[in-house]
Amino acid sequence: MTRRRVVITGMGCVTPLGHDVESTWSALLAGKSGISKTELFDAETFPSTFSAQVKNFQLPEPLAKSGVHDLAGRQAKFALAAALEAWTQSGLDKSDQYNPDRTGIYLGAGEGSLDFDNFTSLLIDAWNNGKLDTCKWAKLAYERFEIHREQEQEANMVLSHLANQFGIEGPAINILTACAASTQAIGEATMIIRRGDADVMMTGGAHSMIHPYGVTGFNRLNALSTKNDEITTASRPFDLTRDGFVLGEGAGILILEDYEHAKNRGANILAEILGYGSSADAFRITDQDPNGEGAAAGMKAALEDANLKPEQIDYISAHGTSTPQNDTVETKAIKAVFGEFAYKVPISSIKSSLGHLIAAAGVVEAISCVLAIRDQILPATMNLKIPDPQCDLDYIPNEPRKATVRVTMSNSFGFGGQNNTIIIGKI
């Protein structure tokens, strides 16, 4: 059976290292860290006082003047800027072959933050004898809450803003499979084009959990690094001294397109989505399957979908969160899938520089795979100084590496056990 080929014709991102693809990529290759002291709120006494924040961000002019996005959530604004970059690169903004009904959106976008000051002060002001007085709470809430600030927290509103800005009218879905969301979105968007339900899909994700309750939640889970004295090197995937991930924020957007559609309109094709695989650990909500069976199943399924052998993979962009558990489990899973070749395939985690963008992590990693293919260079795992005996593969430590890169694999594993892998290749 011949199936429709799906290619990438546009990319955009907003990350802790830059507000677009090129600045993020050059900072990554230069080994810069996007991590700094948390300034979005006072985290001085929190177990983790630092994070990977997007700095000095403002909605680019063409988006700001629309007026529709003024009250959008932080993550939606990141997504808009990333989408504008991707859309412009794709040339669809100027194409006479743009059909809104045949263009869809499939995002893995996260929820917005609570209206922290109002929400928290209400818990204090309406507190009575160890319990919330909901009658008083309601009275005050009607005075203080603003509906846009509330509704914009819904995860599907990111999609709504993008559809509005770019006039998209086709299939529209938002998913939130935690840290795997944007990789899964890319995979599912690919399936929609393959089946013929759309010709163009805007896909990717956006998220910001750098807010007091987000950091509280992850700190309570002991998931974050607490290396408060070594913050720029705190994210150190596969290093023996790693102690958790560094919370980041941002967005990434890809424009996917049916290959024939892209060719017919003379689009600049950046790369091809060759395969997608998905699985569930079905193990525990707090832990990954220690043998990495779920993670391996996702990788195997992606290879099968791409009709490729493990030896044909030139680079793995690891989930590599820098938590003690993930990096060991991922290493085991790669060995289970790749056998002896696991020791030969270069692997790295750009979370060492960017932190963990949660729902948006996967798409930014996918973008780095496309750039690795374009520039024939592999980004490094930074801050990997003391090898962990349980992590004994080639993680491209500390220096980017020139290489022949045709086919890349990108892994994302969500908290709770939803695993997703995509394979991106040179066209």
Binding site: T134, I147, E154, N156, Q184, E188, R220, A280
Partner: protein
């Protein structure tokens, strides 16, 4: 394209009007309404004080003994999904490790999940206790919170409220190791989840997929938000059973319900080989979006839903006249009912005036992310029983809607059911089910 056929072989529903499809369908047929004054908290400060609450509900009964202690880290939305999964899997006659570890009859790697979820909010008392340890001069004190206040929260606090945890708990209990997805598109989530899950079977990635959604918005913050959106009826606090009246001339808003549903979707050949009872076949799915949906305070338009319905009918390869029943979202918000009715007219043409339409929210309220799967469960059961249930609270037709809302249960031949959904924000979905022959 050569796709596999997908059928529904198990149904699990949890609503205020019934837990389990038999009880729900019976209550719908006798036009029972379960909407009452809210008693999960004191609602007297709110303009709308009623909801379709689950009485005495807990997931414990639906959770294997070995996993029961996990119920305390499940938000109510998750509990509903766990219960619905147990009901659907048992109903299908499938034995997972969560049902009976010794006699499992399903390949876990060929068993997927797609469970829609809403935006969950922390229990306010739970967070309030912690926050109120960190107050200085009446104001929240970040320094105290960071040093010690946050330690008053259970370590797993965040995981109670992550939307993907509905699917994660279900996959863990039942050993579903195939692709797992979590759709978060508000009130369109259930249709989107069932549609997407059926595609995963159709393309051969799994043989069984559990799909649907669940949500509980009976929570002060959600009640407030829906009221600020202007969507809730505020004139029926004294007669709650008449409050939710989709497509009726006196519709005045929606009512929050809590609940959800999961459908056990199965590859047709697998179902036939094991002689499973087949409720219906999933034959059409379409989704579209409205670029103006972002302006959520404006009245919704009908064109995106029209296109979603057209797409679902084309996917099912049927003409509009072949639709024998429509189960709409029918929120009861006047502008939303009018837009939905207009889309049905635009997509079905003349046939829209005759085809029976049966909204369900009048009975148990608007289940948000849980709504779609319950609507599709009722649609599948209508096909299986060849019975069209009646709408609750439909008395005076709203001329602006001009639909043939069904008022009494009807036994008749029905072959195709169309069900529609929309979200605040502009995502729309339609699903077509077919009588199984």
């Amino acid at each position: 394209m050569n796709e596999r056929r997908v059928v529904i072989t198990g149904i699990g529903v949890v609503t205020a009007s019934g837990i389990g499809i038999e009880e729900l369908f019976e209550n719908l047929c006798r036009k029972h309404c379960s909407i009452k004054r809210i008693d999960m908290f004191d609602p007297s400060g709110f303009a709308c004080q009623i909801a379709g609450q689950l009485e005495g509900f807990s997931a414990r009964k639906y959770t294997p003994k070995s996993y029961r202690k996990a119920v305390k880290v499940m938000a109510r939305d998750i509990e509903i999904a766990v219960a619905a999964a147990d009901l659907a899997i048992r109903d299908a006659g499938i034995i997972t490790r969560g049902i009976d570890e010794q006699n499992v009859n399903i390949d876990s790697s060929r068993f997927g999940s797609n469970i829609g979820a809403g935006l969950m909010c922390t229990d306010l008392d739970e967070l309030g206790i912690a926050v109120n340890t960190s107050v200085t001069d009446g104001k929240f004190d970040f320094k105290k919170w960071g040093r010690e206040g946050m330690e008053n929260l259970t370590p797993l606090w965040l995981l109670k409220y992550l939307p993907n945890m509905l699917a994660c708990h279900v996959t863990i209990i039942h050993g579903a190791k195939g692709p797992s997805n979590t759709i978060t598109c508000g009130e369109a989530s259930g249709h989107l989840a069932v549609g997407e899950a059926s595609r995963v079977i159709a393309r051969g990635w799994v043989d069984v997929n559990i799909a649907g959604g669940a949500e509980s918005k009976v929570h002060p913050l959600h009640l407030l938000r829906q009221d600020l959106l202007g969507r809730l009826t505020t004139t029926h606090n004294d007669n709650p059973t008449e409050a939710c009246r989709p497509f009726d001339a006196n519709h005045s808003g929606t009512v929050i319900g809590e609940g959800g549903g999961l459908l056990l979707l199965e590859d047709h050949d697998r179902a036939v080989n094991r002689s499973a009872r087949i409720y219906a076949e999933v034959v059409g799915f379409g989704t579209r979006c409205d670029p103006n949906g972002v302006n959520f305070l404006n009245p919704p338009s009908s064109s995106a839903l029209t296109r979603a319905i057209n797409s679902a009918l084309a996917d099912a390869q049927i003409a509009p006249e072949q639709v024998d029943l429509v189960i709409p979202h029918g929120s009861g918000v006047p502008a939303e009912d009018v837009a939905e009715a207009k889309a049905i007219h635009q997509a079905l043409g003349q046939h829209a005036q005759n085809v029976p339409v049966c909204p369900l929210t009048g009975s148990y309220g608007n289940l948000f992310a849980g709504a779609g799967a319950v609507a599709l469960a009722v649609a599948a059961t209508a096909l299986y029983k060849q019975t069209i249930p009646p709408a609750v609270n439909y008395e005076t037709p709203d001329e602006a809607c001009n639909l043939n809302i069904n008022r009494e249960p009807i036994q008749k031949e029905i072959n195709y059911v169309l069900s529609t959904a929309s979200s605040i924000g502009g995502q729309y979905a339609a699903v077509v089910l077919k009588k199984y022959e």
